[in-house]
Amino acid sequence: MIYINSFLFCGVVCMISQLILDNTKLTPGHVTSLFVVIGAFLDIFGIYDKFVLYCGAGAIIPITSFGHLLIHGAMDIAGEMGPLGLAFGIFNLTSAGISIALVAAFFLSLIFKPKH
């Protein structure tokens, strides 16, 4: 069942972004930011946690998961440290993703050259 849920959730996210790209003047940059914000909002009352529980990777892979992890990490540390924890925790869960993206981008840019 989780496979079907995963397929459906990720598919719906992609469909919504394709609809936005095809029917509005928003660019992929806008859509990405929008989805991060939506993911962050869905952390309220743990809604996104439910998606992750029932849809597995289907909910973890789309960029909405990034927004969810930002808020989730911030709130966790804020619980321990108070308001300052918001700043300490915001990249707590996402730092691995960001670091890998940075390092991978650096090495790939050394190897590859853009073509037409």
């Binding site: 790209l21 003047k25 660019t27 992929p28 853009p114 073509k115 037409h116």
Partner: protein, 332 residues
Amino acid sequence: MTNTYKNVYVKDTATIAGIYEANGPLKKYFDKTYTKDLYFGEKSWEKAEIKLLQDTVTTLLKKSRLKDKDIDLLISGDLMNQISSSDYAFREFDIPFLGIYNACATSSEGLIIASTSVDGKKCKNCIVSTVSHNMAAEKQYRNPTEYGTPKPETATFTVTGGAAILLTNEKTDIRIESSTIGKIIDKGTKDVNHMGAVMAPAAADTIYRHLTNLKRTPDYYDLIVTGDLGKYGKEILINYMKKVYDMDISENYNDCGTMIYNVEQQPVLAGGSGPACSALVNYSYIYKQMKEHKLKRVLIVPTGALFSPTMYFQKESLPAIAHAVGLEVVEK
């Protein structure tokens, strides 16, 4: 402002194109094509563009058997910031230089300045050149290719190529007969992916003023050819001319953006754009058609969207311009 000229002749032209243009229908009309990649042996797109421009002017000098010192004036422009391709390309040339910018209408602006100088006997030989490079322009105006943004059907594809023309006061087969300087027209359009719609009103205004100032009808010319409106912009212009000016140009009208590529088969969306688009078509295909007397009177109307990414991000609309230049075969 419409002018007529008495003593301005086209001595020769040089055109060099990239791989997409070489795969298009006008391949045999270009002097040279680079078909390996878009780097041309250079390290960056911008350096490739500079090389392209140098190569074009060198080819023109070689074809016309002239040296740097025989040229009184070189007018050039391109799409880069500070028109850097032109500035950097001609460091190695020993010719007085004027840099100009009118986006994709640069070639016609240059032709008008050069024709006025030659007709006013201020100079004898004058070169007008322009260049554009697809990847360099994408980086300058849109997003780098690595970003991989999908584009709508109405977007155009910047032509990679260099084009130069040599104007002189010695009699040759083809002369520059008249010109009309365009006005900046801004109808409030904000869609950077539909430049055809942005530029069509500017082209219409210039064509209308050119024809009425000289008391001519569209059929006076064998061909009226706009710069880079693309297949959608072309339809917009025909309808706009009919509706606003009650003038039918559909009989003898074409657009360089749709002539340079096989628009339906090549991955170029609505067609070609960039200053080299109109210049390549005009200086290769149209020039040769006129040499063979297949076309006798041609009105070229390169169109340019004077679009600045900075102003666009500040939510300004897009201004456009078009200049018209009339070419004529000299009857013997």
